[in-house]
Symmetry: C2
Subunit: 164 residues, 2 copies
């Protein structure tokens, strides 16, 4: 045959060779893979932007949430951020050490730690928020405002636990 492949060979190639990988089975068609690549890029861009503030995504997230909900307990912070308390403990100690977070005893439940930002952290937050906005504008520069809103909605649908 002039074309160089028997029908059997074509059938085989269509199952495992490059020419034959079904479009929906290709790695770059997988949303999980693309989620990971996009998330990794965002992570590294965040690290660059916040290097001077010495804040990583997790520690910034903790500060931002404590700022939004002053008086939140460490356990509740864990639940909201999807973290284990075993991993949260040393991070809270670090932020307290740096004078950014205050830990106080709960009035009635002696097990609970009540969290709040220090004055220094409250003063610094507006600038840090600005930096995070810059970071988001940078790694999302190829998306329109509308596309960003859509992306936000779809990402929340994936991981949030709200009822359908």
């Amino acid at each position: 045959m002039a074309i160089g492949y028997s029908m059997a060979e074509i059938a085989i190639r269509s199952k495992s060779g490059k020419a034959g990988t079904a479009p929906e089975d290709r790695l770059d068609a997988q949303i999980g893979y693309n989620l990971r690549r996009a998330s990794t890029l965002a992570l590294s861009d965040f690290a660059v932007e916040m290097a001077d503030a010495a804040l990583r995504p997790v520690t910034y997230g903790m500060l931002a949430l404590i700022d939004e909900r002053p008086g939140i307990s460490a356990a509740e912070l864990c639940r909201l951020l999807g973290m284990k308390s075993a991993n949260m403990a040393p991070l809270l100690a670090e932020l307290e050490e740096r004078g950014l977070v205050e830990r106080d005893d709960h009035a009635r439940d002696k097990r609970v730690q009540v969290l709040a930002l220090t004055k220094a952290a409250k003063t610094a937050m507006p600038a840090w928020r600005r930096q995070v906005r810059n970071h988001e504008d940078r790694f999302l520069q190829r998306l329109t405002k509308k596309e960003r809103a859509t992306l936000l909605r779809l990402l929340r649908l994936i991981w949030s636990e709200e009822a359908d």
Copy 2:
């Protein structure tokens, strides 16, 4: 004043208190944060689905890409997957050890390793691909087909290097 707050207090609260965190500055309005949460969920669901195959997202990605491009070099695989060769080396050794990947010398450039799936890996891939499809259908169950296509497009816009 009956309402209990002076104008100055309201201004302060609007900058740092819970009631005052600007909607666009809230943690759950940040795409980077939501990317990370969604990606983490996808990762853990992948781990559950592929536990029996003992494949992680990275190792599956390597196999899938070698399957799509048999004869690819290790360096090119690194570039396509966004990995450092220092991290790729032990993973390739692992996959070779398990009889899933073959490493051969390049015909002309003696520095290069040419990669291909073994017969065993080629036989196993269809079932693994099916499992990955199941995994994606599960963690994306709240998204329509159309929404999945949109999400895929937006994620690629974030991290892919194609010209605008």
